[in-house]
Amino acid sequence: MEKILFYIFSSVIIIFSIMCVTSRRILRAAVFLLFVLLSAAGIFFMMSYHFLAAVQITIYAGGIIVLFIFSIMLTSHVDEKLEAPAFKKVYFSFMACLLGACLTIFAFLKYEFPIPSSKQPVNSMQVIGKSLLNYESGGYALPFEVISILLLAAIVGTIMITRRDETK
């Protein structure tokens, strides 16, 4: 059962990501990206990282996709078709990616992975919350604060960039 689910999720990821990078209608590409991100959340659920899957759905599928769709609506006509990329560009990019993918897959198929550890997983919400605010060894308080500062800087920067110039 879990095997079948995993194969469904991974084939959805591969098929829709290919459609996302080749579709010539830009709004459809955004919807295909949404399917890819939702299947990634499904894989997180299968590994029983429920919190991460919920974050993936709310931030990626909920937030970023809406942002993308808004920016598409603001910058291009809805049923406008993008021009197809030049054949030479497609050919060389495809060859480069194929080479890279073959090399990577070959490299890790040669490697003997150790047997997965059978220790008891700790991923309850309580453990996650406690270690995010723990400032002793093994805690994540510093990266948490750094991410907060980054979000603040991003808010200020975004407002500064998109503000209309009043002096003109």
């Binding site: 995993f6 990078v21 990206l33 991100l37 993308f68 992975f113 008891q120």
Partner: protein
């Protein structure tokens, strides 16, 4: 771990997703679609972090937290990039990478 699925299977899916993202990054001209390819790449890396965490170190949560921080950085990056794209569109009315060369010189 997922029953009956080795880590190689997850790694193959992620490698394909990563290189599909790079293909989109190289061939697309519209700035918004380039940003979408970057999101594909970040998702592939995220699944990798979580898979290694789950298969080999289930008693720790390092990969889980790293994936969480990658999601946060991806969200800020998308917000700032879309702000730049919209202000570029306001100025010169195109968002093609080849025609948007006003800030180059």
């Amino acid at each position: 771990m997922i029953e009956g699925i080795g880590i190689e299977n997850i790694l193959i899916v992620n490698t394909l997703l990563f290189f599909i993202g790079i293909y989109g990054f190289l061939t697309r001209k519209n700035l918004v679609t380039i940003l979408m390819s970057v999101e594909l790449i970040l998702t592939a890396v995220n699944i990798n972090f979580v898979a290694f965490n789950k298969y080999y170190y289930p008693e720790n949560l390092q990969g889980h937290f790293f994936a969480l921080f990658v999601i946060a950085v991806a969200a800020t990056e998308a917000a700032v990039a879309i702000a730049i794209i919209i202000s570029l569109y306001r100025r010169i009315k195109v968002i093609d990478v080849e025609r948007a060369d006003e800030m180059k010189y």
